[in-house]
Amino acid sequence: MSNKFWISEKALDIQEVVDLVTRREAGAINTFIGTVREFTKGKRTLLLEYQAYVPMAEKKLAQIGEEIKEKWPDTDTAIAHRIGRLDITDIAVVIAVSTPHRADSYDASRYAIERIKEIVPIWKKEYWENGEEWIGDQKEQKAYPKGQPDEEDLT
């Protein structure tokens, strides 16, 4: 397991993730910070709880790093995702990608967050004023018509 891809029960340190991809060959480091939003479609979230299948989630984060390397050569990626109870504005995920030139760093960073939402076994539970629910991504954006992602999405 690479130490650049991990699940954490503690607050994430943005600089720690950035430092892992900082190198002399890079001309750009793109950082994505996913935070806990208060309102979703008018509904107020009080707090979130994230759960992960930790060993598999860390493997899948590392896989995303490998996929990025294949698509954008000479890229270095680090990803940390938090689990447990998070309050509004807390940081849930930090992605840092360093590349020689800036364009690739934006594309690769975007790719990383989209892939996290497809293949990494992490779930969030939203707590509202009048209830709570585990959120499946099919309810938000992506449907799995066959009950699961396509084979090619996963390997």
Binding site: G34, Y50, Q51, A52, Y53, P55, M56, A57, K59, H81, A92, V93, I113, I116, K117, E118, I119, V120, P121, I122, W123, K124, K125, W134, I135, G136, D137, Q138, K139, E140, Y144, G147, Q148, P149, E151, L154, T155
Partner: protein
């Protein structure tokens, strides 16, 4: 014997995160049916499965000692 792992809504509905099941020589699809009947886990139909931490399809046949995780649609990020 096989270890079964449940997460998120599946875990909550079954009331446990982990259970032991004799699933050797059964396909993932058959294991799903079994769990659906035993724990009223209808949601397992829309869940993916992972065997030993790698995604596996419904035809995958379970071997002795395999750990099978059922993974509802993910919502990280």
């Amino acid at each position: 014997m096989n270890k079964i792992l449940l997460f998120a809504g599946l875990q909550e509905k079954a009331g446990k995160a982990e259970l032991q099941l004799e699933a050797v020589n059964k396909s993932i699809k058959e294991v799903k049916e079994l769990l659906k009947d035993s724990y009223q886990l209808e949601e397992i139909d829309t869940s993916m499965a992972a065997v030993n931490e790698e995604y596996a399809n419904g035809d995958f046949v379970v071997k002795e000692g395999d750990t099978i995780a059922f993974i509802p649609p993910v919502s990280g990020g």
